[in-house]
Amino acid sequence: MPKVIKTTINVEGRVSEKFAIVEGVELPPWGENEELGIVGYPTPRIDGAARVSGEARYTYDVQLNGMVYARMVRAKAVSAMIGRVDVAKAKAVRGVLEIMTPENAPEIKMGSDQTHLLSSEVRFAGQPIAVVVALDPYVAADAAALIEVHYEERPFVADPEAALAEDAVKVQANKPNNLLNGKPRIKERGDIQAGFAEAEVVAEVRVTTPTALHNAFETHGCVAHWEGDQLTIYESTQHAFGVREFAAKKLELPLSKVRAVGTYMGGGFGAKFPGNAYTIIAATLAKRLRRPVHLMYDREGENLEAGNRGRTIQRVKLGAKRDGTLTAIEYNGISEGGAAMSWIPMLEGPASMMYRCPNFRSETTGVLTNLGPMAAFRAPGFVEGMVGLEAAMDELAAKVDMDPLELRRKNIPDTDQLDDKPFSSFPVAECYRRGAAAIGWERRNQRDQATAAQSNGRYRRGIGMSSQIWWGGGGPPAYAEMLLNSDGTATVMTGTQDLGTGTRTILAQVAAEELGLPLEHVNVTVGDTLQGPFGPGSGGSITTGSMTPAVRSAANDLRNNLCDIVAQMRDVPQEEIEIRGGVIYRRDEELASVKDVMGKLGDVMLTGTGSRGPNPDDVSVVTSGVQFAEVEVDTVTGQVKVLKIVAAHDSGRIMNPQTFNSQIYGGIIQGLGLALTEQRVVDTGRGAVLNPNLEFYKVPTVADVPEIENILIDIPDVKANSTGAKGAGEPGIIPTAAAIANAVANALGVRIADLPITPGRVLEALERESS
């Protein structure tokens, strides 16, 4: 019997109350010591073969009969009104079918500031201003180059600090200033002034983090295909159902006529949520031309327009007692949002949550500039904010002459300081203990005495650390269906998606575990709104915590149905029936295999449905952890080499250690990039991004990757949900850059406050030291 419930959902710090419909009885959670046979064991991903063989079809790979290729034409001006767009020459190119410009684009409003599908107001270089469709991508590019755009250019501002000035050029003309919402976001608890008055020691730092580009290897884009009045959108997306809803709404179609498909996608990292004009553009063009339209961004367009982690400028001030007890935290952060911004990343999140402190105040400012817009990027705000907080914690440790890890241990919070609720589970002390042992933390303090002796050598080593906090418990609504086929194999169907995180595999594990089938008898379809019920968007590390309970619930429903059938067929009491390894038992007596039972029934199909139950009201569900970094700085070249990262993260029950490790490694490597090599380079005077490519935007190579030891904490969070599992997508990246920056500071004896810590910055710091 479906029940309507209301529950609180937290995605990346944005809390909302949601209605959800929950079916059936909420299963009791698997206990801490539950004996499981499939869940929790290292399991190669079930779609591995498809991904290593080239058979996995990504959106970019979709090829349909009669399909044609669209190419975005992007603004060269930084800020301008578009006058005439001359397409005559482009139209004359043989093979060009259609050109969409602001003049002939349909009047559909997009985004938070309600610009048109193709706006005639340019707010950053790289903004789409026209779309060419041709029989071949080369022809589309030829034609795009022939389009002449007449701009009425305007002044612009491309530097976040300059954009804050009172007389700064307005990025959005209708706003009073360049601040999102007109003013900073202020958060307070306790009495910040009293907190500093109480403090015996104050530490303050200023740090900056660069604009980082997601550079998912598959760019943004979609393929739109009409069959009669039915629209199918293939899109590289983190939320298939969201694409369906967005397309239906903007195109005024019934949801039942729209299908969104994103079965394989080449990385998202937060930037691939629905709401993108290209979806509607492709659908519109496909309808006009009566042909499927393939519209994928190129790398430059991706890096100019499709999102970024904005540059931050942060000041963190800590007050503490001599014994290290924090009395006050004051946080001030500026986050660059580019030309469009609808929310401010929670830069103050770590400072407000990570350590116990009764007196807290933060000001977080989102500032607009005439550059490509920001988008969520893997733990938005927390990665950046942790760099500031943990730099300040290390400075404080030095001032109170305390071991930095000891200082953190002393300030472990007892509750979630955002809502005063106790944590459902918060084993950060355990993470500290095991992580510190693995890195050999005690060497850091011995090194302090040895620094003088070492300082003449070419290489200097250092060790640093950073804590981690984040959400990741997930929540409703999330649904799954299961089919038991006549050969005894089972199919899990749900509209969630597998970004490469391993979702398919853990859902198969959960289904097999609950149903009593061998893993290889379970298949999973995801990422297709016609092949399963609603799954939430894969962001905020919510997929595991949302979907695994839903699938468990569907598998349980199916299992009950199967037991019911067997009870009727064999005339045995249902409660005595057990299913293990694909075999049905009455207590220990083998009755039949699932395959035989289903085979005997012929063309039947048993089904099960399931849903994610409500979140607990009385506790706060978070993930926590720590990373330690050991680095070696080459004083000749200025290059920082990360020698080792030790990670210890609580993500509740670990469903699949293999893909869990991969998630943590992946986060660490992106965090390493932010710390050392990655930055969008802007010529602010010209409003130009100089490295929208993979040549000068330097993502880490295999040779940049250190030894990584990921310690499995693996404590089921039994209060969080029925599988006790929480997400791992974002926790891994949160502490990495902060830990590396602290390790470099430890190695050099001075802090390099601006990330990335490039050879140039290291050499400049060494020059200052020697002069």
Binding site: A141, T637, G638, V681, L690, T701, A703, E764
Partner: protein, 325 residues
């Protein structure tokens, strides 16, 4: 990329009559194709040299090393004689780009590689492309020159040529007037108002061979060091090639070439003279490093190249000194 006519030829000699400003040779393609994709060059005809198999060879002869212009960087880094006797060249080849690019890129093409300046490669009609202004001068110039040689402040990007200059290599170039020999040091030139390119190759000329003379001295050693801002697969922030005869801690006939600090790889002649024949002390090494940047004047964002050049020159000398056996 603009459409073009593709021409296959069987030997290098067939190429010359075909070449002109609108007809360009294509070797490995690892620079030419990106330039064409960006629309920076748009030849009407491309002449594929790769079927001219007589240009891919490494010959060890009495007078030194003869390298066909189509020899790949991968061939160079793996060749045992190159590794032993012309170490800097093998090291510079191995430190360039990525394995796949080294499989494709030829030494001839590598010498002719265009600057990687992001203004030149981007949508800017900069001075080097025939415009009036070098945008990097007042823009972002962290990868740019610290020694001014022309209105353009882009640096010469390739690795092996710095080693070739240190090894006193020459190029065999063919053209309508026949063949000419030119040292790599003379061939690579800062651009001028009339010739907006970093080399002196005529539009109808072709590099066919690199000749590295054999040193008379059995104790001749060479080294190439490269600083990057990623562990691998990046252009040099600064690079240094040094050749010398090494006996104990004394270096003779020293040649020091610094890369990625100017429009061309630069000989550090003052530094060379300082250490020539001297017992190489730490103090002398530091002095040589300082001498190597004596004429340098960094731009707004590349001040770090001063200490980096000093350090890298010093490190190369230290490593060479340590290599005597």
């Amino acid at each position: 990329m603009q459409p073009f006519i593709h021409i296959d030829i069987a030997s290098a000699e067939e190429v010359i009559p075909l070449l002109d400003a609108r007809t360009r040779p294509l070797a490995g393609g690892t620079d030419m194709l990106p330039l064409m994709k960006e629309g920076i060059v748009a030849p009407e005809r491309l002449i594929n040299l790769k079927r001219a198999t007589n240009l891919r060879y490494i010959r060890v002869a009495d007078d030194g090393l003869h390298i066909g212009a189509l020899t790949t960087l991968d061939d160079l880094e793996r060749h045992p004689d190159v590794r032993r006797d012309y170490t800097a060249l093998a090291q510079a080849s191995a430190l360039a780009a990525s394995p796949q690019l080294r499989n494709m890129a030829t030494i001839g093409g590598n010498i002719l590689q265009q600057v990687r300046c992001w203004y030149y490669r981007g949508d800017f009609h900069c001075w080097l492309k025939g415009g009036d202004l070098c945008h990097a001068r007042d823009g972002r110039n962290e990868y740019h020159a610290i020694v001014e040689q022309s209105p353009c402040v882009a640096v010469y990007p390739s690795d092996p040529p710095a080693a070739l200059i240190a090894l006193d290599a020459r190029l065999r170039i063919i053209g309508p007037q026949g063949e000419r020999l030119v040292s790599v040091a003379e061939f690579l030139q800062p651009p001028t108002a009339q010739r907006r390119s970093l080399h002196g190759l005529g539009p109808n000329e072709l590099i066919i061979e690199v000749h590295v003379p054999k040193s008379a001295a059995p104790a001749q050693r060479s080294i190439y060091l490269k600083a990057m801002d990623r562990a691998t697969w990046a252009y040099a922030l600064v690079s240094v090639a040094v050749t010398a005869e090494v006996a104990a801690d004394v270096l003779r006939n020293v040649r020091i070439v610094v890369g990625a600090v100017a429009n061309t790889p630069m000989r550090a002649t003052t530094a060379e003279a300082l250490i020539e024949g001297q017992s190489l002390t730490e103090e002398l090494i530091r002095e040589a490093g300082r001498a190597a940047v004596a004429d340098a004047a960094p731009l707004e964002h590349n001040g770090y190249k001063l200490p980096l050049t000093r350090n890298l020159v010093g490190q190369a000398l230290r490593d060479l000194r340590g290599s005597s056996s």
